[in-house]
């Protein structure tokens, strides 16, 4: 554990989340983890690796194989004063718990007029690109963001992962916490545990630019940054925003950016139809109507079920499709 708190170590997203969970459990004895295979195995992605060994089976709970049961019992624990952090094994398996999330988790605070708020976190590894079979590469964030009473965030890098998971656990409201599984073991980043993180529900400009604003979150932040790099070689300056919070949205910086660039491309892996891009387009157009030189363009997963993995890279937004949209918005 001391090794975990060495300053400025290089960590993956998986490791950062693991450290963040550990820190949250050390800071608050009411924090519990629940999920499938999160104990001895440490989760199929090893995000909870070693935590049951160190915090015991009462705080790192391997559950029966039933997502509604996991979330439903977590609600009961939260009502008893605990702070459950639920792991959904894969995005596609959150749906059996959808009723408990939408009708109970989201409404408990409202129903009780604030008497029984429900501080709990539901962690969902999301997105594709890992060559998996059906149901393992979904991006269901829009459905949760559409549900009042839930707060929805997505981390995109190790440093945010470390801080955001702790902030989500400390938050007094239920948070759906999306983790880009494709990034879990990808790039490492310098983690300074003594730094002061940005507040949880804020977006961030991750690259300054002047020609086009590119909005992204979770797995597509990396794509957007790559696109910006490529574009700069062609003399095009993209401003890239990592939204971080999907509900509520934090669009102040976005509006400023759009007023500057007049052009917007939104990219996410979720289906374009009624994805976050739709809401962003609607709000940006309403807020920056006279600044827009072109309509907000959306680059996302197509409106098909997630395809067989051998062609998933055609389904997923990539650097080229983002650049194509950049061209289209500039030529508009």
């Amino acid at each position: 554990m001391t090794t975990d708190s060495r300053p400025n170590q290089k960590v993956t997203l998986a490791k950062a989340l693991n450290m963040g969970l550990r820190k949250a459990m050390e800071d608050d004895s009411k924090v519990l983890l629940m999920g499938e295979d999160i104990g001895t195995l440490g989760g199929v992605f090893r995000i909870t690796d070693g935590l049951q060994k160190d915090f015991g089976e009462d705080r790192v709970i391997d559950s029966p194989l039933a997502e509604s049961g996991i979330v439903g019992t977590a609600i009961g624990m939260a009502l008893r004063g605990y702070r459950p952090v639920v792991e959904i094994q894969f995005d596609g398996f959150v749906y059996p718990a959808y009723d408990q999330i939408v009708c109970q988790v989201a409404k408990m605070c409202y129903r009780s007029q604030g008497r029984t708020p429900l501080p709990m976190v539901i962690r969902i590894p999301f997105g594709g690109g890992i060559g998996a079979v059906e149901h393992h590469s979904e991006s269901p964030e829009a459905q949760f963001a559409h549900t009042p009473g839930l707060k929805v965030v997505a981390c995109s890098n190790p440093v945010d992962g470390y801080w955001m998971i702790q902030q989500a656990i400390a938050a007094p409201d239920p948070v759906i916490f999306f983790e880009p599984k494709r990034q879990y073991h990808a790039d490492k980043a310098d983690l300074d545990e003594s730094a002061t993180p940005d507040p949880l529900f804020t977006s961030r400009v991750v690259r300054q630019g002047s020609d086009v604003t590119v909005l992204s979150y979770g797995p597509t932040v990396k794509t957007a940054l790559k696109a910006a790099e490529a574009a700069s070689n062609e003399g095009r300056s993209l401003e890239v925003v990592d939204l971080r919070t999907l509900s509520p949205l934090d669009l102040g910086k976005v509006y400023d950016s759009v007023r500057k660039t007049g052009r917007v491309v939104v990219t996410h892996e979720a289906h374009v139809n009624l994805g976050l891009g739709a809401e962003l387009a609607a709000r940006i157009t309403e807020e920056c109507f006279y600044s827009l030189e072109a309509p907000v363009l959306r680059v996302g997963g197509f409106d098909t079920p997630y395809p067989p993995s051998r062609i998933e890279e055609d389904y997923l937004p990539d650097l080229d499709r983002v650049l194509d949209a950049v061209d289209r918005t500039l030529d508009f």
Partner: protein
């Protein structure tokens, strides 16, 4: 381990090890007071053995009072709905014994997860009945503070609360308030649900979690024979309490119109839970004498004969007969209770009409414990919009 006076260990009596439908057929329904008001004995469950005569009489009078006042709450609320003061009401007529028997078996530290029909349990837990009306009037979605009486909010999505109950019980385990042997500390949860609810995945998952973690929860099912228009046969082809056998914990069927038996069985089940012996399924066999809700029309789907037959099993009448026949209550007692009921009725009528409508802008309150700027802006926008009209006048 069971403490004296708390009845048998239900696992030994009704657990998978011993129970077969043949045997339960033999044991039948647990009953301690017949519809005719006769006290009968049961090989496994008893009422009052741990009470002195005076206490016993007082307890039974208490049951009578609770059931009578509960019925009055129901009758008044039904009338209030007819007069347009409530949008809808879920009647409990006929289920008073099941609810009071269960409610009185609870200790203050026990926690209740109700459906939308647990008015009698709410009463026993000390929730002001007036607060129950808000939800049905449409002025709130649950007007009481669950923390005050350890009585959760009504849950309308069928079965969802059984998982909350199980999780809450798992929390109790972690709080070290189970199996310590300290009667004022050891705690349990009771999860209420109906016969129809027993078909929901959530309810069956709650059995699985409760069994897997040996959670201190009593699954209290009021089998009132109907899920709106669907008879119990649609949900199960064996006695419902036997569902528990498939999950490895005991199930008991008790006469839900017999407050003594329901009290005795629920008390034993709760004690098992508090003692750390895990979950129990209690099927309170009763009948929904009224409509599903005030918007339902049972004549479309059931015969009045059934209702007539069940009238003879009225839960309150049998206690009254018992009290009177055994000289356990003076006429003055009955007069006092009915006077009390009249007062309660009056208070409910007046109180209900006086329940204030919520302010339009309160719609935006408590969506979150920590409000978002987004939502605040929506509220302000709507406030400005509303003002624009006042301006207009």
């Amino acid at each position: 381990m069971t403490q004296p006076g708390f009845g048998p260990d239900l696992a030994e009596v009704f657990g998978p090890a011993r129970q077969t439908s043949a045997e339960t057929g033999a044991l039948g329904l647990v009953q301690l007071l017949t519809p005719e008001g006769e006290r009968v004995e049961h090989p496994e469950f008893s009422f009052g053995d741990d009470l002195a005569d005076a206490e016993l009489a007082e307890t039974v009078r208490g049951f009578f009072r609770d059931m009578t006042l509960t019925r009055r709450i129901d009758v008044e609320a039904t009338a209030l709905q007819r007069h347009g003061e409530l949008g809808i009401w879920a009647q409990l007529l006929g289920q008073e014994a099941a609810q009071v028997g269960a409610g009185r078996a609870l200790r203050p530290q026990d926690y209740v997860f109700p459906t939308y029909r647990e008015h009698g349990v709410a009463w026993c837990k000390g929730v002001d009945p007036l607060k129950l009306l808000g939800l049905f009037r449409g002025v709130d979605q649950g007007g009481w503070d669950p923390r005050e009486n350890n009585f959760g909010l009504y849950t309308i999505v069928i079965g969802a609360q059984t998982l909350h109950a199980t999780g809450y019980a798992m929390g109790m385990q972690r709080d070290g308030v189970v199996g310590t042997g300290d009667p004022d500390r050891d705690s349990a949860v009771i999860a209420h649900f109906g016969d129809g609810a027993s078909s929901q995945g959530d309810v069956n998952e709650s059995f699985i979690f409760a069994a897997s973690y040996n959670a201190p929860v009593v699954f209290f099912c009021q089998n009132n024979q109907w899920a709106i228009s669907e008879p119990i046969e649609r949900q199960t082809r064996i006695p419902l309490y036997q569902r528990a056998l498939g999950f490895g914990f005991p199930g008991v069927r008790v006469d839900g119109n017999d407050v003594l038996a329901t009290y005795a069985v629920t008390r034993a089940a709760l004690q098992r839970a508090r003692d750390g012996q895990g979950p129990t399924f209690v099927e309170a066999y009763t009948y929904r004498m009224g409509a599903h809700t005030t918007t339902d029309d049972p004549t479309r789907y059931r015969l009045s004969d059934d209702v007539e037959r069940w009238k003879l099993k009225d839960p309150i009448a049998r206690v009254e007969v018992y009290l009177k026949r055994n000289g356990l209550a003076e006429q003055s007692f009955f007069d006092d209770v009915s006077a009390e009921a009249d007062d309660l009725g009056h208070r409910l009528r007046e109180g209900c009409k006086a329940l204030p409508d919520p302010q339009p802008l309160s719609m935006f309150d408590h969506v979150f414990a920590e409000e978002t700027d987004e939502l605040a802006a929506q509220r302000d926008g709507y406030a400005a919009y509303l003002e624009s009209f006042e301006g207009a006048h």
